[in-house]
C-alpha cells in the first residue's frame, strides 16, 4: 500500500467511525423528539381540558347569576300564591259546608242541573287544591335547589372523614336503588377534609342515584373509589350503564339539563353538585363512553 493509500485508509476508518456516531446521534435525537412530542401532546390535552373547565366554570357562574335573579323574582309571587291558595282552600271548605246545609234546607228549590254542578264542585274542589299544593311544593323545591346552585355556602365546615360520610350516605339511598345494584367500595385511607358533610353527602347521593338510573333496568355495579393525590382527596363514582352521549356531555352540569324522561328529573342534581364542589374549592369532572359507562371524579383540597 502506497503512502497515499495509507492516508486515505486512515481517513476512511475515521469517517466510518464518525458516520456510525452520527447515526447514533440521529437515533438519540429521534427518541428525544418522540418524548417531546408525547410531552407536548399531554400538555396540549391538559391545556384543552383546563380551557374547557374554565369555560364551563364561567358559563355556570353566569347561569348562577341568572338563576339567582330568576329565583328572587319567582319567590315573591310564589309566596302570595301559596298563601292565597291556602286561604282559598279554607274558603272552599267553608262554602262547601254552607252549600251542603243550604241544599238540605232548600232541596226542592234547586234544579237538577245545579245540583249536579254543585256536587261536582264539592267533590273535585279538594282534589284540585291538593294538586295545586303538590305543584307549588314542586316549584318551591326547584326554586330552593336553584338558589342552592346559585349561592355560595361556606357555613358548617368541619374536618370530616369522607369515607365515613360515603358509608353513611349509602345507607340512606340503598333502599331506593334498583334490586340488582351492587356498590363496590374501594376506599383508601384519607386525611380529614374541611367540608360541609351534609352538602358532600348530597353530592354523593346525586352521583349514586344518577349511576343507578343509568344502569340496566334491574341495576348494575357501581364502584366508589377514594384516594389521595398530592394535597387533594379524590372521590370517583363509576357505573357501567348507558353512558352519556358525546353531544350531551358538555351540558350535563347545566341547570335543568337532563337526559332522563320528562318528569323523572329536574336537571338540577349535577348543577347543584357542581356548585357544592366548587364552593369547597374542588372540581368535579366526568368521563363517559356511550354504552360502556360513566365516571364522575370529585377532587377536594385537603387544606
Amino acid at each position: 500500500m502506497s503512502d497515499g493509500d495509507e492516508e486515505y485508509a486512515i481517513a476512511y476508518k475515521r469517517e466510518k467511525r464518525a458516520r456510525k456516531r452520527a447515526e447514533e446521534v440521529v437515533e438519540e435525537r429521534n427518541r428525544e423528539i418522540y418524548h417531546l412530542r408525547q410531552d407536548l401532546a399531554e400538555a396540549r390535552e391538559h391545556l384543552e381540558s383546563s380551557q374547557e373547565n374554565l369555560l364551563q366554570a364561567d358559563k355556570l357562574k353566569s347561569m348562577g347569576q341568572l338563576a339567582s335573579g330568576i329565583t328572587h323574582e319567582i319567590n315573591n309571587p310564589l309566596a302570595y300564591i301559596t298563601s292565597n291558595v291556602n286561604l282559598l282552600s279554607q274558603y272552599h271548605a267553608t262554602l262547601t259546608r254552607f252549600i251542603a246545609q243550604q241544599r238540605l234546607a232548600h232541596e226542592n228549590e234547586v234544579d237538577d242541573t245545579m245540583k249536579k254542578e254543585l256536587a261536582l264542585i264539592m267533590e273535585d274542589g279538594p282534589e284540585i287544591f291538593c294538586e295545586i299544593d303538590e305543584g307549588l311544593a314542586r316549584i318551591s323545591n326547584i326554586v330552593a335547589n336553584v338558589k342552592r346552585f346559585a349561592r355560595k355556602h361556606e357555613r358548617h365546615r368541619a374536618l370530616s372523614d369522607i369515607n365515613q360520610e360515603i358509608r353513611a350516605t349509602l345507607k340512606l339511598v340503598e333502599q331506593q336503588l334498583k334490586p340488582d345494584t351492587r356498590i363496590r367500595l374501594n376506599l383508601d385511607n384519607l386525611p380529614l377534609v374541611s367540608c360541609n358533610v351534609s352538602e358532600i353527602g348530597q353530592v354523593i347521593i346525586n352521583l349514586v342515584m344518577n349511576a343507578d338510573q343509568a344502569s340496566p333496568p334491574q341495576g348494575g355495579p357501581i364502584t366508589i373509589n377514594t384516594g389521595v393525590e398530592g394535597r387533594c382527596v379524590l372521590i370517583s363514582v363509576i357505573d357501567e350503564g348507558t353512558g352519556i352521549p358525546e353531544d350531551k356531555i358538555e351540558n350535563i352540569f347545566d341547570p335543568f339539563f337532563t337526559t332522563k324522561p320528562v318528569g323523572e328529573g329536574t336537571g338540577l342534581g349535577l348543577s347543584v353538585s357542581y356548585a357544592i364542589v366548587e364552593d369547597h374549592g374542588g372540581t368535579i369532572s366526568v368521563a363517559s363512553e356511550d354504552g360502556i359507562g360513566t365516571s364522575f371524579t370529585i377532587v377536594l383540597p385537603i387544606d
Partner: protein, 183 residues
Amino acid sequence: MKGMIFTSLGDLVEEEFGIGAWNRTLARIDSVVDGAYIEADTYPASEMLSLVGALVEELQVPAPQLLDLFGQKLFFDLYRLYPELVDRHTELVPFLASVGTDIHEEMKILHVDAEVPDMRCDFYDRNQLTMYYDSPRKMCLLAEGLVRGAAQHFDKTIELEHSECMHEGADRCKFEMRLVPAS
C-alpha cells in the same frame, strides 16, 4: 465546543493541505474520539486548542494566519447550516452588531450546550462598529476571521483593527472595523 467547528477545521486542512496533514495533526493530539468528529456532538474546547497548536507545528503556519483562514471558512460553514440567521440582514454592520445578541441567543436555543463567546458592540452605524470579544477560550483570532468571512459574504471590503487583545493582558479584545468605500 460544537462539533461543527471541529469538522470545519478538518475540512479546511484536508482541502488546503491534504488528508495526510490532517491525519498527522490528529496523531499529535490525544483526541477523545480519535478525530472522528461529527457536527451534532460537542467536544472539549481544550481539544480545539490542542488541534490548533498541533496544526501550527505540523503545517508550520503562524497561528494568527491559520485562525484567520479558519475563521473565514467557518463563517461560510455556519452560513450553510443557519442561512436564515444571516439572510435576515442586508448589511454587514447591522449583522455583526446582532451576533453577540440575537444570533448567539438563538444558537443557545438551538443548542442548549452551546458555549458562545461574548461579542457585543457598544457603537455602530452603517459604516463602522466597535466590537468586544470576551471568552475564556481566547479564540479572538478566530473571531477576527469570522468577521472577515462575513465581510466576504456581504461583498464588502473592511479595515479591521484588533486594538486591544486578551493575549496581551487586556480584559477583553476590542475590534474596530470600518467599511472601505468601493472605489
